[in-house]
């Protein structure tokens, strides 16, 4: 993954700033609570949710275990349907391919459907550097783009903005990008949506090149699927003459029939709807309907490295529904920006360090951006065990070990700043394997309990600054047991 959010501080620092912003916290709290309640209702409507979730998990796992075969099959079927397939090992290559494809059309502007993959690779910036202007057409992405801001949520990227802020951005910025905001624009959502409609329609109607991602790609048929609400997706996918889709290699499902699982679980998990307003499916090009040229750019950019990790590869099952963000107590308070990636929240905490590696401070801090409460696993429609991967990544960061970077096995050194953690774990391991020493230590701790400090010294102060230290009991449990029961279970 490219350094989209260059120079981001580690999660604790970024989160600390967010937590002290009352507007942000209010916006986030309102949004996450609204959507999590709605989602629970939408899921409860479907009596076979557990079976759908299991099927989704198995389909994705099976696909990942045979990914090479399915990629080749997809290439064949897309090509047979009139599309052109390109392969991009990293962000730079993907950006170069797309830039060249746009240049070949002679166009200097493109319209874009909201896409996590193109955000991940920083496509807009790369196109801009090549003199090509990319217009985001999803309302939330438009708000983010006009506000010179960064997305903070997978599904509703402007979740951190309230209506007043959005109105101000529209009034201030729209004119410089095209049709200005109407006179006397208020902050009612209907008026704001209307302003976006008018502003973007002139762009849709003249656009010759559209750029999208895809929610799914069907290996068997070569079909691509985009799920959306506003109709901007349909505009970008059908009106331009050339369509370029940039899609991560993990987005494959083997068969047409598999879509029946995800088209039931994705809308209910993400927007809490029975079905999203618009779903577009296209297979190559169709004579007389839609783009005449279709290019599919298959993106690796750290995905094969993630695949190489036996515990962490389950993150590639993700269908980007964002249900895990909306239930996460950490996300709700810290906000999406603190995660320093286009993938925020619990899924971001396991995906970003795997796609990008753990070399940077922010990536090394992400596996710790969680309370391990497990709510994210509960709601995940493809049953990604996010806490399991978090713990696995914490171990790798604290202990070091083997990992795959750019296809090569590397041995990571233990990360800096985790020396105390390592020492404590080593001491614990030794103590637990030496019962005599453990008992002596416990007795010592009990007898000196009156002299224990109320806060921890050194780096431990950060932990004890917001928590009460547990008090040591007057007598160790094992001694109490010996004394009262004589070491024998008297209940039998």
């Amino acid at each position: 993954m490219s350094g989209t959010f260059v120079g981001m501080p580690a999660f604790p620092k970024a989160a600390h700033e967010a937590v002290n912003n009352p507007t942000l916290r209010g916006n986030l709290r309102h949004a996450t609570h609204t959507i999590r309640t709605k989602r629970a209702k939408a899921v409860a409507e479907v009596s076979d949710w557990a079976e759908l979730r299991e099927a989704g998990k198995r389909i994705k796992d099976h696909t990942l275990r045979h990914l090479d075969g399915y990629l080749v099959r997809l290439e064949e079927s897309v090509t047979a349907a009139g599309g052109v397939v390109h392969w991009a090992a990293d962000a730079e290559e993907a950006n170069r391919i797309v830039t060249e494809l746009v240049r070949a059309t002679g166009e200097r502007e493109v319209v874009k459907v909201k896409s996590m993959a193109t955000q991940e690779i920083g496509l807009n910036e790369a196109l801009e550097a090549a003199g090509i202007h990319a217009y985001e057409t999803d309302l939330a992405e438009l708000i983010v783009q006009l506000g010179k801001d960064r997305p903070s949520h997978i599904l509703v990227p402007a979740i951190h903005r309230n209506r007043g802020e959005i109105r101000d951005i529209f009034v201030r910025e729209m004119g410089a990008w095209g049709r200005a905001a109407p006179e006397g624009l208020t902050d009612s959502p209907a008026e704001l949506a209307e302003a976006a409609r008018l502003h973007l329609r002139e762009k849709f109607l003249r656009a010759k090149v559209g750029i999208s991602g895809a929610n799914f790609m069907v290996a068997e048929t070569g079909t691509l699927v985009v799920v959306e609400s506003e109709g901007n997706g349909r505009m970008c996918l059908t009106l331009p003459e050339t369509l370029i889709s940039v899609v991560g290699i993990e987005k494959i499902v083997p068969t047409w029939r598999d879509l029946e699982v995800f088209l039931q679980t994705l809308p209910r998990s993400s927007t809490a709807e029975r079905m999203n307003p618009y779903t577009s499916m296209w297979t190559g090009t169709t004579d007389g309907d839609g783009p005449r040229a279709f290019h599919l750019v298959l993106l690796d950019n750290g995905r094969t490295d993630t695949l190489a990790d036996e515990v962490g590869r389950q993150a590639l099952r993700c269908i980007r529904c964002s249900a895990c963000l909306n239930v996460c107590p950490v996300y709700e308070r810290a906000g999406g920006h603190a995660y320093g990636s286009v993938y925020p929240g619990p899924i971001g905490a396991i995906l970003s360090p795997q796609l990008r590696g753990t070399a940077s401070e922010i990536d090394a801090s992400l596996p710790y951006a969680s309370s391990l409460c497990g709510a994210c696993y509960e709601v995940c429609p493809v049953a990604i065990d996010i806490p399991e991967v978090l713990v696995h990544l914490r171990e790798r960061i604290a202990q070091g070990g083997r990992a795959t970077r750019d296809g090569n096995t590397v041995v990571l050194k233990p990360a800096k700043g985790h020396a105390a953690e390592r020492a404590a774990m080593r001491a614990a391991r030794w103590a637990f394997s030496h019962p005599g020493a453990l008992g002596a230590g416990q007795r010592l701790a009990s007898r000196t309990r009156r002299f224990h400090p109320r806060t921890l010294p050194g780096p431990g102060r950060a932990w004890s600054g917001t928590r009460d230290l547990p008090t040591v009991p007057a007598e160790p449990f094992r001694e109490w047991w010996q004394r009262t029961r004589g070491g024998k279970d008297t209940t039998k």
Binding site: H66, V156, A219, T221, E230, R234, R257, P277, Y278
Partner: protein
């Protein structure tokens, strides 16, 4: 080395721990692949609950309305008059008509008909107020109509640019209960558009607003005897 070979090589090395039988169950041709079907447990339901045909159609009407589509019911004989009334309510106007729309649907209405030609620009279509189409099928459990570019539906753009879409669904013939039943009947080689209510956004404080870029009014006419 090409990036294709590079990526495929990385995938194979990444999966070194996965037992390979050498024949990944990649479907060789469109349709069911038995090895794959055995690999994935499909014990989920084909339909949620047992309903009569009439109840399925009622559920479709209810779910369409829940997502703010306007639902009308008519017999074959009444249909032209319903279409006429719905168009007249929008005032004098231009109406887009796909090439294969049954002529009797429009027999009572008298708007200026516009045909979508290959040379028509999106800008020209933007001057049209309404579009009348059929559909490929409708899904009751989700309140979804599906268009597949058939002769009575036309190109995808004609149901996108006008602000008012009237879609005629034949009941019960075109109604399926669920998403799995819909997948069985659809042809992936056609461009498909699934529509559940009018265009909507929840991007501003999660308040749902109808009508951003697609048609702001979706009227669905259920035609038939059920």
């Amino acid at each position: 080395m090409s990036s294709r070979d590079l990526i495929l090589g990385r995938v194979r090395r990444a999966l070194a721990d996965v037992p390979r039988d050498g024949t990944p169950p990649v479907p060789e041709q469109s349709g069911r692949d038995l090895r794959y079907e055995q690999a994935v447990d499909r014990s989920y339901l084909r339909e949620h609950g047992a309903r009569s045909l009439a109840e399925t159609v009622d559920l479709l009407a209810e779910n369409l309305a829940d997502y703010r589509a306007v639902v009308h019911r008519a017999t074959e004989e009444e249909l032209p008059y319903v279409v006429m009334r719905l168009l007249a309510e929008r005032g004098p106007q231009y109406v887009l008509v796909p090439p294969g729309l049954p002529p009797e649907w429009m027999s009572a209405a008298d708007p200026t008909r516009v045909h979508d030609r290959a040379v028509s620009t999106p800008g020209e279509l933007d001057k049209v107020t309404s579009v009348v189409t059929g559909c490929a099928l409708a899904i009751a459990e989700t309140g979804t109509i599906v268009l597949d570019g058939g002769p009575d539906q036309g190109r995808r753009r004609i149901t996108l640019i006008p602000d008012h879409h009237i879609c005629v669904v034949r009941v019960p013939g075109q109604v399926v209960a669920s998403v799995p039943q819909a997948m069985e009947r659809l042809d992936p080689t056609r461009p498909l558009t699934w529509i559940s209510g009018p265009s909507a956004t929840s991007d501003i404080e999660l308040d749902r607003v109808e009508g951003v870029h697609g048609p702001r009014t979706l009227e669905v006419v259920l035609v038939g005897e059920v």
